[in-house]
């Protein structure tokens, strides 16, 4: 149901949890096909902002619009089934095989079994796992990197219009992280998903985002394209860019 307006819009969103202001008057839009990275330190409100999009949390004030409709007006089940969700802890069902985990949302949506099986195989291949080897295993038999690949496959299974990722590769070793970032980029470009990607790693933010929103203690510091982000001069942006400079000597080739 793509419409002419923005895919996502935060309108003066504030969130208060237990009297503490977590998000303060946040307003921004994400257009169809963009990848917005929400960058910030721990406790900046990134995860809270992400969880507003699939209505795991609702705004205390303001509203979050998905395809022009407020999350409070959506049918929650329908809203969430249109959004793939990947979190650092992965959250695979331990009592389901890998195939059952990946096929979960298609099965909830009532796809015929052959189509689910086909889709599961395709997706496992796309995230670099051999279906014959992995389909019948259980999550505890996989390494962290393999589990997160399954997590990504599961999020994509029912071909959602959105991908929401919360530090998805944060717990992985650097090699796996780089590989998964590449796979994410390839999948996103091919599938044209609108994505929101939470990270505290400025290099990851620059790598995967078309746009970067910098959050600082619940405020939106800036939202720019990643090219412009390099030229921003706010204090928090400079702090993150300093971290980027440190890594630039080793890892800048693909960025600029």
């Amino acid at each position: 149901m793509p419409n002419s307006g923005p895919a996502l819009e935060f309108r003066q969103v504030s969130v208060r949890i237990g009297g503490r202001l977590i998000l303060d008057n946040l307003s921004f839009t994400v257009e169809h096909g963009q990848t917005l990275t929400l960058l910030g330190r721990s406790g900046a409100g990134k995860t809270t902002a992400l969880r507003m999009i699939n209505a795991l949390l609702l705004p205390t004030e303001g509203e979050v619009l998905v395809e022009g409709r407020s999350t409070t007006a959506w049918d929650l089940i329908q809203l969430r089934r249109g959004m793939g969700y990947v979190i650092q802890e992965v959250g695979l069902f331990p009592h389901f095989t890998i195939a059952e985990n990946v096929g979960l949302v298609p099965r909830l949506e009532g796809w015929p079994e052959e189509r689910i099986a086909q889709r599961t195989e395709d997706l496992l291949r796309q995230v670099g796992l051999d279906p014959d080897e992995f389909e019948q295993r259980y999550p505890r038999q996989l390494s962290g990197g393999q589990r997160q690949r399954v997590g990504v496959a599961r999020a994509l299974a029912a071909d959602p219009r959105f991908l929401l990722l919360d530090e998805p590769f944060g717990a992985l070793d650097p090699v796996n992280r780089l590989e998964l970032q590449d796979q994410f980029l390839a999948l996103r470009d091919r599938l044209g998903k609108t994505s929101v990607f939470v990270t505290h790693d400025v290099r990851e933010a620059m790598r995967v985002g078309t746009h970067i929103a910098l959050l600082d203690r619940g405020h939106l510091e800036i939202l720019t394209t990643r090219e412009q982000f390099l030229r921003s001069d706010g204090p928090e942006a400079r702090a993150f860019l300093a971290a980027l400079d440190q890594g630039a000597a080793i890892n800048s080739a693909g960025l600029l």
């Binding site: 795991l56 089940i77 969430r80 089934r81 959250g91 069902f93 331990p94 009592h95 909830l108």
Partner: protein, 206 residues
């Protein structure tokens, strides 16, 4: 010297005992498991309900059987009163383990389930119950073993079962009679513990 009429009576009272326990456990599970699920959804009820179940457990069993006798509908003399008392005792372990089992489901798993658009019912039946099954069964096992012991007291209010031997043996200072009640009860408890433990281990996939 064991006469054949004693063996017949052992068989008859053992099966009576077994039925008493089976019916009580069935009712207790049918009450405590849904109630435990309710408590996971309504934290405010946890204190009062667990408190009530705890208090019931502290009442000496003979006294509880006695208390129930004058109460209309659920009380009186006989099996029905015995079953009511046994159900009260069995509630706490099942209730507590249902609560603990469901709350013990990994937060990331639960969050994923909700975020992928599972309904409350799907979350319960496809995620929470399968993952909590082992813990819930452990509660049922503990409750069953204690109920088998407690059910011997049912004989005091005319509930029948192996307690009949024990009370008769005490009254007539007859060790054979006491053992005729105690040994089958102990065996019943051991077999139930082993059998339910085996089922429990089969839920170890998670």
């Amino acid at each position: 010297m064991i006469r054949s009429d004693l063996l017949d009576e052992i068989a008859q009272l053992t099966s009576e005992h077994f039925v008493l326990v089976l019916v009580s456990m069935g009712i207790a599970a049918a009450i405590a498991i849904p109630l435990g699920v309710l408590l996971t959804r309504r934290p405010v009820l946890r204190g009062p309900l667990l408190g009530f179940a705890n208090v019931v457990q502290t009442i000496p069993s003979l006294a509880l059987f006695g208390f129930l006798i004058p109460i209309p509908f659920i009380g009186g003399i006989g099996k029905r009163t015995a079953i009511v008392a046994l159900v009260f005792y069995a509630l706490l372990p099942i209730l507590r383990n249902t609560l603990v089992g469901i709350l013990g489901v990994d937060a990331a798993v639960r969050e994923s389930a909700v975020a992928m658009g599972m309904t409350g019912r799907q979350l319960l039946w496809q995620v929470e119950m399968p993952l909590a099954a082992r813990t819930i069964l452990a509660g049922v096992r503990v409750a069953t073993v204690t109920t088998i012991g407690t059910a011997t007291i049912a004989a005091a209010i005319g509930g029948g079962g192996l307690g009949v031997f024990i009370f008769r043996g005490i009254a007539s200072v007859d060790t054979v009679q006491i053992l005729a009640g105690a040994i089958p009860a102990a065996l019943l408890a051991l077999i139930s513990d082993g059998g339910l433990g085996w089922i429990e281990r089969r839920f170890s996939a998670a």
